[in-house]
């Protein structure tokens, strides 16, 4: 990747397309995990790629490009949150702290692209009830409160089911990656 970055820095702007192609799935996946409005994911992805391009000269090739890239992504996400909330609402400050804490504790996942290739296989393996919940929750972005009402269940029961489903998907992804 460093070679590609050097070429872009030397003026081969068209090569930036390759970098976008390589990192776009991971970036969109990162943002979609953190934003509820999926239209924003597209706008912010674009904004982040442009900001990264404009800062490429500042990148020190001694460091890992991917980590540097996702630090810019996190900063952009945080400044988006700041702009979104009103002056009296302090949620953005705590959202920012939470995102920073997650970044401190959990390393950026280098297997995100590989996982993307298997996620649909793992979803297809879920039992029917779990599949329905996953589709409502993640395809149509239905809230837990709404899911609980619609399925005549409780919020606790739905969130416990989601917890178990996530564990199943995580285990399935690990197996699929091992068998690649």
């Amino acid at each position: 990747m460093n070679e590609l970055i050097n070429e872009i820095r030397q003026g081969h702007t068209d090569k930036y397309r390759l970098l976008v192609r390589q990192l776009a799935p991971s970036l969109r996946s990162y943002l979609a995990g953190r934003l509820s409005d999926f239209h924003l994911v597209e706008d912010l992805s674009q904004e982040i790629f442009i900001a990264v391009f404009q800062s490429l000269d500042k990148f020190d090739s001694k460091y890992d490009f991917r980590s540097w890239f996702f630090t810019i992504a996190r900063n952009k996400l945080n400044s988006h949150l700041r702009k979104t909330y009103s002056k009296k609402n302090l949620k953005f400050a705590f959202e920012e702290e939470i995102q920073n804490l997650v970044a401190e504790v959990c390393d950026e996942d280098p297997d995100r692209e590989r996982k993307l290739e298997h996620i649909q296989t793992c979803i297809a393996k879920l039992p029917e009830e779990a599949l329905d919940i996953i589709k409502s929750r993640y395809y149509t972005n239905e809230t837990v409160i709404s899911l609980a009402e619609r399925l005549n269940s409780t919020e606790n029961a739905i969130s416990s089911k989601l917890f178990r489903i996530r564990k199943n998907i995580k285990d399935c992804l690990s197996t699929e990656l091992r068998h690649e």
């Binding site: 976008v20 995990g33 996530r166 995580k170």
Partner: protein, 444 residues
């Protein structure tokens, strides 16, 4: 991972947590790495599923590349190309002079007038930061400002004190407020009347006499204090609020009700949604040690207390005024002695064991490390992060309590003099209800 934590993660992802709930969630995340990993997994899977459903990369590529291609100079050329060529008009000399005079005078007038205009809406300076731990910040409008000692504070500033940090501030009239770690507060000044909104955390106040009709108002989720001039501590969380007055008096009102009490020195009052406003007299300790710090010789105080036939024993370690920073303390070799003989309290079942942070540990240090003091390990003792309360029922035949109250080496592993670990050891024979209530507020 309990059901409540699982639900909180989902509600966080749905953006349905209130400010208070977000604070609690942040605190819980800080204390539970497992919860951080689960949140990360939830976000990861949500992101993976979305991206696999919307593999729309070509559009993004094109949009980014298009933007990079459109540089400013070409944009300028395009704009200039669209502007019709201006016609050359001839004006008389007097007209040109009048225009030139306007060009000079208008900016000049603007410069002269603008300081007067800006003076009508200045940020109101209310005081300064006197002391601050690491990483605390102020939200000023939408700006997040890291603060240092001596920095000014303005009306409408919102302060967030980080975990394991603290902040002290001084108003222009000399009144002081100290905020403990994880406090979240908004300061305002309305025509000379000070207002403080304590959303969570603990504040210690020493308030100078306020002007007539300008009582300082401090609010929490459950209560409102009217302060004329006094010393007190106010603790608040989403569960309840507790006011502890050490000097003077404070009018304490429960919000959304007519309940109101005057809390005087050595009294405290608590307010919560499900209980009425309670006024109580502070329980006096049977024994209170001097303040012990990391730099006290041997880092210890020897304690021997006559229990006067009491059947309960409560051992309390209070923070010595530094808001609990690294206050790793222990009761070394705690025992009760009397005609029935001698028995170590570590062998008796505890009826209360509450610590300000982490857990109460028996025969080991905080987080299970050694009970190490000045490099020496002790086999018997009870360790806890201040403020802590531990209690036992005393069997008949024992009438004296002895122990060494110590600061553990783990309090300051870098031997940093700026870490002012300080505690006080207290012994009670009746329930120190105020200390417990305050602990429960912090350990919600």
């Amino acid at each position: 991972m309990n059901n409540q934590q699982k639900l909180t993660i989902e509600k966080y992802l749905d953006g349905e947590l209130s400010e208070q709930e977000l604070i609690s969630f942040l605190e819980e995340l800080r204390e539970t790495p497992e919860l951080v990993h689960e949140l990360n997994l939830a976000m990861e899977i949500k992101g993976l599923i979305f991206t696999s459903q919307h593999p729309n990369f070509d559009t993004l590529e094109e949009e980014v590349l298009n933007h990079l291609d459109t540089d400013t100079s070409s944009m300028e050329d395009q704009i200039m190309a669209q502007i019709p060529e201006s016609k050359t008009l001839k004006f008389p000399k007097w007209f040109k002079l009048a225009i030139a005079a306007q060009i000079i005078l208008i900016p000049l007038l603007f410069f002269i007038l603008s300081p007067i205009q800006s003076a009508t809406t200045p940020a109101v300076l209310i005081g300064h930061v006197e002391k601050v731990g690491f990483d605390s910040f102020v939200l000023r409008g939408k700006e997040k400002v890291n603060i240092r000692k001596g920095d000014p504070l303005f009306s409408k500033d919102q302060i967030y004190v980080q975990n394991e940090s603290s902040l002290g501030m001084k108003y222009l009239d000399g009144s002081t407020l100290k905020f403990s770690s994880q406090s979240f507060v908004r300061l305002t000044d309305i025509k000379g009347q000070k207002r403080v909104e304590l959303f969570s955390g603990v504040l210690d106040a020493d308030i100078a006499k306020q002007a007539p009709g300008k009582d300082m108002i401090i609010t929490t989720e459950h209560s409102e204090c009217e302060v004329i001039g006094t010393q007190f501590t106010l603790s608040s969380s989403n569960v309840s609020s507790l006011l502890d007055v050490s000097e003077g008096a404070v009018r304490y009102n429960k919000v959304k009700s007519d309940n109101s009490v005057m809390v005087e020195a050595d009294h405290y009052a608590s307010a919560s949604p499900d209980e009425s406003l309670e006024l109580s007299k502070s329980t006096k300790p049977l024994y209170q040690s001097p303040i012990v710090t990391y730099f006290t010789p041997e880092k210890k105080v020897s304690i021997e207390v006559e229990l006067h036939g009491a059947r309960s024993l409560y051992l309390v370690v209070s923070n010595g005024g530094n808001h609990k920073l690294h206050d790793h303390s222990a009761w070394i070799d705690p025992k009760i002695i009397g005609p029935a003989g001698e028995i170590s309290l570590t062998e008796l079942p505890m009826k209360v064991a509450k610590a300000g942070y982490a857990e109460v540990e028996v025969n080991s240090g905080i987080y299970g490390g050694p009970l190490r003091v000045n490099g020496m390990d002790h086999p018997i003792g009870i360790a806890a992060h201040a403020t802590s309360v531990v209690a036992w029922d005393i069997p008949p035949g024992y009438n004296t309590f002895t122990a060494d109250g110590v600061i553990l080496d783990s309090a300051n592993q870098r031997n940093n003099p700026s870490h002012h670990e300080s505690v006080q050891f207290e012994v009670y024979t009746s329930i120190p209800e105020k200390k417990l209530k305050r602990l429960l507020i912090r350990k919600r």
